[in-house]
């Protein structure tokens, strides 16, 4: 069965770059790795996804090594508004539809 591991929490300061790593093994070979952000009292929302190597969008970058056993979400120059919980989501190996959520990393940005 696929399994994901993320740090429970992280602290950083405004303007810094933050990297959050999710370890995941036995994930679906034909599926992407997706990251979500959740603020208090809201549902999670999509940030970024990728299959391999590096993906960048307007809010984050995602680094995925060739073996796909981990992925690293990179938030450049964080601000207080980036304080949230971040989840990785992967597909289960040998399953057509089962998805596995990470337990989430609570990121606190300090002024």
């Amino acid at each position: 069965l696929a399994k994901t591991t993320q740090p429970i929490s992280m602290d950083s300061y405004e303007g810094q770059e933050v990297n959050i790593t999710c370890s995941h093994n036995n994930i679906a070979t034909n599926d992407y790795i997706t990251w979500y952000q959740q603020f208090p009292s809201q549902g999670p929302r999509f940030i970024i996804q990728g299959y391999k190597t590096k993906v960048t969008n307007e809010v984050a970058s995602l680094f995925i090594p060739a073996d796909r056993k981990s992925s690293t979400l990179s938030l450049p120059r964080v601000s207080l508004s980036d304080t949230a919980v971040y989840y990785c989501l992967v597909g289960e190996e040998d399953s057509n539809y089962q998805l596995i959520w990470g337990a989430g990393t609570k990121l606190i940005i300090k002024p």
Binding site: A28, D31, T34, P44, W101
Partner: protein, 116 residues
């Protein structure tokens, strides 16, 4: 366009009562997911619909929980004989196709259920 909506936003009930939670997905989204989230925890998968049928209901904790999606759009999560341990935020998400992490899930704001 409109996002995923859930009603009610808050529900307080007494132990042993029956509750229904409603989810209106984004129009045209085939897939619909129900999750439960306790304070400080990640989303706990409950059930996944493809169209009208439940493709995976392995996350439903017991037979007190049931969900339907009769016309492939709106879904209702039904909880019988509620227990205090059922208290949580119930999240609904929809996606265009479903079944893969590739397919972005759009979440509603959730229903906060409190069982007294």
């Amino acid at each position: 366009g409109a996002g995923v909506s859930q009603t009610p936003s808050n529900k307080v009930t007494e132990k042993g009562k029956y509750v229904e939670l409603r989810c209106d997905p984004i129009s045209g989204h085939t897939a619909l997911y129900w999750y439960r989230q306790s304070l400080g925890q990640g989303p706990e998968f409950l059930i996944y619909f493809q169209g009208t049928g439940a493709a995976d209901d392995s996350g439903l904790p017991n037979d007190r929980f049931f969900a339907v999606r009769p016309e492939g759009s709106v879904s209702t999560l039904k909880i019988q004989r509620t227990e205090r341990g059922d208290s949580a935020v119930y999240l609904c998400a929809s996606s265009l196709v479903g079944g893969r992490a590739l397919d972005t899930q759009y979440f509603g704001p959730g229903t906060r259920l409190t069982v007294l």
